[in-house]
Subunit: 145 residues, 2 copies
């Protein structure tokens, strides 16, 4: 479990090297990583190019299906509403989160899209509270100011 | 205004021809349509290939910026949480909606991502209640059963 988050952190580091907000994600099926991605919003000039969306699209290509059944995602930062909504759409069954996002977090911090009685799906969330995930973000935003 | 929704409906009809849930969207800037898209989820085997996401990505290519400043979107069906979240991310300023979605609507019907005091942005929503938008969806789901 921690090994998969470590792989997501490695992805976030790739984003950092490009000056992107450091967020990384991996999709896991049967204990194997089937896709890896990092935030490329500025590089691709595409507001939808968050790590989670890119990881989902890449995983769907691997399994040749939009349904990511029995898949988990490991992501270094709590998904925003767009990404939480994408996680609902693709039917990922469990989400492991490295650290929370007090501004846009849509898995409990600001709103909760994944565990909402009125929406159609309910996703299992595991908080890992990984220091590396929060430290790299703090450092990134400190250096930016 | 109604003319732009008519263009979005034409996009939804393209989705219908492919057997996709008929949803279409256009992005408008300075009274001109800068992108058009329709739902391609099944065709592309990509759960993120909703009309709104494809229209946003395409519009960003046109303006060469992830920020869709001073842009409006016309969409035939109320966006889901993923698409409402994408509309927040790209800074679209106004959203025109053709009909509501009682199952996954994230602009007021089930949840409201676009007008939420706790999130960082607030998007203006205009409901057009266009009969064609609701009729084509009703017909699609009736034929499917």
């Amino acid at each position: 479990m921690d090994g998969f988050m470590f792989e997501a952190i490695k992805q976030a580091e790739m984003a950092l090297q490009l000056g992107e907000v450091p967020v990384g994600a991996v999709v896991v099926k049967n204990n194997n990583i089937i896709s890896r991605a990092y935030n490329l919003k500025e590089t691709l000039k595409d507001s939808t190019a968050h790590a989670e969306i890119l990881a989902i699209r890449s995983a769907s290509k691997v399994v040749k299906n939009w349904r990511l059944k029995d898949c988990s995602m490991y992501v270094t930062l709590e998904p925003c509403p767009m990404c939480a909504g994408a996680i609902l759409q693709c039917r990922i069954s469990r989400l492991y989160i490295g650290t929370f996002d007090p501004v846009m977090g849509a898995c409990g911090s600001v709103v909760n899209i994944l565990q909402n009685n009125f929406l159609n799906h309910w996703i299992d969330i595991q908080w890992l509270y990984n220091n590396e995930c929060s430290n790299m973000l703090k450092k990134f935003f400190k250096n930016r100011r």
